[in-house]
Symmetry: C2
Subunit: 695 residues, 2 copies
């Protein structure tokens, strides 16, 4: 396709790497000071890394800039290849496990303790646990339980499961996390967004109203797979996968999910019997408005909204005055007790107020036989498990990190993921659905002054006791109250300030945020997530391949060359056009564009719009184009071809091309592609040296 006539290399130095690459694809091997140094720096297994150089050691201090500029620039050691990178990464994952194992073999006694301690951090911090700490944790745990019981029942209805499943989920997972996790403030249990996500996706496979048993089985199986994925992410140190949902996307997603959850609660608040399985705002509003007002129940609404007002007022007061943080924390429990009493005394359930009715009492039953690994939905269930795992981890890690950062300690993301995984695996065997760290309850836990994760144990025991003793008392609890408890927790998920800050700092980030928001709101939860991920990655792509170039000038009084737009005081050198490529990659997607732009700039005699100094000399055709490649991390075959064409076109009009500061990967590929020999291009360490060599 491209046949470039081979040009005699203008450089005096022969490039063995260049010519050898043509013959055998390998570089000559010759011992030198540098190649020996190199063998220390690059893993020795990294293929033929020896550098082709003269045998005589070169004194770089004494020799002039020309030699300095070309010798080491053109003859760097070979960078580690794709294979080496892969080996290093995999090695890092298994090294830590292997080290531990070796230690175990050497010293079985202390090795076992050390391993147990690393899997169960409670064994480490438990040794220094004091009565004083326990007092704080007891108080925090009880406060947590008072908030957790009504919320758990509410979130179970959001997940379209029987109310007791919410309580089950607040018993086993917190206990397991308490033994294995590293965060001290996180409050484990069911959360709104994961409950919504689970029900939104599982009810497409099985109808929760028509077929509740099959639905529950699927929900538990999804929980099992979510646990498997979480544990696997932690064990394989893939914690970074959680970062793939950008902060902006999470802000948008959470806000959208909050509104969707709120809409779902209208069913309970209005006492509707028929509702839609879709979650988008259009479908939900359609159902509600179509049913209006004949099937709206005024009693449900009045009861629900008056308690919602109460909850919101306590929330507001708690925010105004940090000392009464416990008021919003226990307000839900007060609401439940009060409203249950009201309904019981007035027998309002006979006048259309919907009530919870029977909640199965007793501790978590086994659900081992409910897991379903075959059947028509197997692959779907695994997929939902993955999505639930990612969202659950994202929320938990965000919660854990923010509180750890407040108290100044470090949480081990990978260890925490393993803990989350185990708690969900064991949970799925004991009738729990997907649990994670809750934003709102962790904040209450923190405010209540918890010292360790012991508060979770206190909470779990309290919930377990309630399951044994008090479920009968919840018979008359109105569903509208559960809806209002969920509704009152939603404002915490909508962070307008953060959205505004994102808008201010980065418009494209805001696009991901708003995309996730509208995706969740108008289509579905999964689509919202997908939109967010796609916009986030599209943004990275756009940034990586933006076909931009920028003019450089000398910073007054220094040898530093910088962008003239960023530093208006920078001075251009007449007759020389210094250009920096703005993107990190010169590849198929932008190489041609960059080439055309450079040629256009050169043809326009310097550059019209950017030549702010407007000196007349700058307007004649430049004699030299210096291409500063310091931004360029990599180049591909299309990029190299473009550079070759650029060099040829510039030569046609008598303009020379010099390349400054090529990075390791770039210079290596240019050598492999025989670029220097083909074009006679000049390559220098810095822009300044390229300029000096020309002048």
């Amino acid at each position: 396709m491209r046949s470039c006539p081979e040009m005699a290399p203008e450089l005096g130095i022969t490039l063995p790497g260049d010519s050898a690459a043509d013959n055998t694809g390998e570089t000559d091997l010759s011992k030198s000071k540098f190649s020996q140094t190199l063998q220390k720096t690059v893993p020795s297994s990294a293929h033929e890394t020896q550098v082709a150089m003269d045998d005589t050691p070169v004194d770089l201090e004494k020799n002039g800039p020309a030699l300095r500029a070309q010798h080491p620039v053109l003859n760097p050691p070979r960078p580690p290849g794709l294979w080496d990178d892969l080996k290093t990464t995999v090695g890092e994952v298994f090294l830590s496990h292997e080290k531990r194992f070796r230690f175990l073999v050497k010293e079985p006694m202390s090795g076992t303790i050390s391993i147990l301690g690393s899997f169960f951090p409670i064994l480490v911090w438990g040794r220094n646990y004091t009565i004083a700490k326990f007092k704080s944790d007891l108080l925090a745990g009880l406060t947590l339980a008072s908030l957790c019981i009504p919320q758990s029942i509410g979130y179970a209805t959001l997940a379209k499961l029987d109310p007791q499943y919410g309580l089950y989920t607040s018993v086993v997972p917190p206990l397991i996390y308490a033994f294995m996790g590293t965060s001290r403030e996180i409050a484990i249990g069911p959360v709104a967004v994961v409950s919504l996500l689970l029900s939104a996706m599982v009810q497409k496979l099985e109808d929760p109203v028509a077929n509740p048993i099959a639905y529950t089985r699927l929900a538990l199986t999804v929980t099992f797979f979510a646990g498997i994925f979480e544990a696997a992410f932690g064990f394989l140190r893939l914690g970074f996968l959680v970062d793939f949902l950008s902060h902006a996307a999470i802000v948008g997603f959470m806000a959208g999910a909050a509104i969707v959850i709120g809409l779902q609660q209208l069913k309970g608040l209005l006492g509707l019997t028929h509702f839609t399985v879709k979650t988008d705002i259009i479908s939900v509003l359609e159902v509600i408005l179509k049913s209006a007002p004949k099937s709206w129940s005024p009693y449900n609404f009045i009861l629900g909204s008056s308690f919602l007002t109460f909850l919101l007022i306590t929330r507001f007061l708690g925010k105004r005055n940090r000392k009464i943080f416990w008021l919003p924390a226990i307000a839900p429990l007060i609401s439940v007790i009060l409203s249950t009493l009201i309904v019981f005394l007035t027998r309002a359930d006979e006048h259309g107020v919907k009530i919870v009715k029977h909640i199965k009492g007793g501790l978590n039953p086994s659900s081992v036989h409910q897991l379903q690994f075959d059947g028509p939905h197997a692959s779907e269930v695994v997929k939902i498990g993955l999505i639930v795992a990612v969202i659950a981890l994202t929320e938990a890690i965000a919660v854990g990190r923010s509180f750890a950062s407040l108290k100044g300690y470090h949480i081990d993301g990978n260890k925490d993921m393993v803990a989350m995984g185990f708690m969900n695996i064991v949970g799925s065997l004991t009738s729990c659905y997907a649990a994670t760290g809750s934003f709102s309850r962790s904040a209450v836990n923190f405010s209540a002054g918890c010292e360790t994760v012991m508060s979770n144990i206190v909470m779990a025991i309290t919930v377990a006791l309630s399951l044994e003793l008090f479920t009968r008392l919840l018979y008359y609890t109105p569903i509208a109250i559960l809806a209002s408890i969920i509704l009152s927790a939603l404002p915490g998920l909508i962070d307008l300030n953060e959205a505004y800050r994102i808008w201010k700092v980065d418009k494209l980030d805001f696009l991901a945020c708003i995309g996730a928001f509208f995706g969740v709101l108008f289509v579905s939860v999964e689509i919202g997530l997908l939109v967010a991920v796609i916009i986030s990655f599209a943004k990275i792509l756009l940034n990586a391949i933006q076909p931009g170039i920028e003019a450089l000038g000398r910073f007054p009084g220094t040898d530093v060359f910088c962008e003239v737009n960023q530093y208006p005081m920078a001075i251009k050198t007449p007759g020389i056009l210094t250009i920096r490529i703005k993107s990190a990659l010169l590849c198929f997607a932008n190489a041609n564009f960059v080439k055309e732009r450079i040629i256009k700039w050169v043809d326009e005699k310097g550059d019209d719009e950017d030549c702010t100094k407007g000196n007349a000399e700058g307007r004649s055709r430049p004699k030299l184009v210096i291409l500063d490649m310091s931004s360029l991390m990599n180049i591909d075959t299309s990029g190299i071809a473009s550079l070759e064409e650029l060099q040829k076109k510039l030569m046609l009009h008598g303009t020379q091309l010099a390349i400054a500061n090529p990075r390791w990967q770039v210079i290596d590929k240019l050598r492999l592609a025989n670029f220097v020999n083909k074009t006679g291009g000049r390559i220098f360490l810095t822009v300044g040296e390229a300029m000096d060599a020309f002048l």
Copy 2:
């Protein structure tokens, strides 16, 4: 989520931009030398671009490095935002059209001529056209026609259309291109890959055997839309979209397509009646082996393969000796004439040799009424049109560019796309299917010494004459010969040398190449393309967000800091850890990873693996970490949050953080996010200045 206690800024300089951002989101306005300079450099409409600075002009030459380092670094002009970039891009697209229009209004006479000339380059070069040139073009055109007639018929059968459609496509599109295009050597007509692509995708909608009329209508409609897309790409200057198929992907795709096309020809070569609509190698081989050998026809095979041998030998000879380039060019026509005579004389068609039979004579009929814009397949047809347009343009632009580069002239990609678009739109109205520039015929055209695109006109007229006069003579042409003509052209599509070169230079590029190859071969043409595009973009993503950091050292005898692995002679400064972030973006996908890595390096007291000099001082905990941000083109909210956390964690252990050389977008976002005030971080122009300030 993150609440960082506001730290008093350590810097002596107040940063109005920082504090103002907190209050109103706008920066103070104060006139200064720099803000005036700025107004020239950035479009004046670019929101509030004034820089907040002291009123007194600062003499940068006289003041010390500290001021130099901080004043301009911390107070750059605002970079153009997303909106400005968009405006500039859109402006560039329409400016050229608008300029032309204004010129037309001012000087209607010369304006019209200039516009006509720019749309029809033939009006420009036609003025200098000479008899000598015409002689060359006439010879080239006739050679071209002799190759084109048999190939066109063959490609039409590959596209599952009647043979005359191939001939039609060699009449109208070349004529239109000749008037509008800018390449001189390109030979326009049907090509193998586009024919395959068209039939592979359209036959999923309509069966070409059971329902040939509906199939033809769809094929013509696809051609129409392909033309619309091509013209739109050209008019909107979206030529760069063609670059989105990386060179490596094209190499793999072409090779895969060649084998798939070859497999399709086995039907003709073996004289099979039943065949599969699938194109993957497994399905095709299955059909062939299942039918073997009972329905294989020996006469077809013997006839086809003997002429294939003849064609391949002429091809080989033509390659060995460039002087007899005409031999492979006219060999197909010779084969057609000879084989037709043989069949006619021996009446071999009565013994099972499949023949072309009736070819409808006469020039292109109108097909305006055959286009079908409604119906069940409308959206599918548009999609296929887009894919065909991209592949057709990719091939044509590659052909055009490579020959233009050989002769040293410039082809206007956008103008050529408009020409291709028009030729396909008009083609679809005159019974032509998708045409583009053919690799093999353009090479023949070039070798035959064509001077201008006039050779295409000669070829089109010759084909038109054949359509009028000679179609009846092709009645007895055996189909096996058409198959062997197509087969003989395929080796040119497989470029093993280039594949090897790609493997040598870039392993990931090779992965895209091989992915496209296997995708086409084992699944389908579209999947092959999709795989290639996905791998290519995944590679960009990987490169852009690689969470790498590298240690820097001072290049001996200079102020330049460079990577110690790339330049083993670089010297680290004891007690100071200088780190460069390797990726172009510090964003949600890698920010956390980069932060953790830096903290790990610092915790490991310098850095074990990279501290090649092994000096003892380097092993004590560094007092200062200098983060060289020169590679970083952009940063997002997650990236800023990571930097804030990094700064806090380093401070805990008494290590200071300094940032060197932040780029325009980066420093702007750090300012907007109030980073400097929050962390008291120090920001410098270069690593050297950061180091001097510390020492």
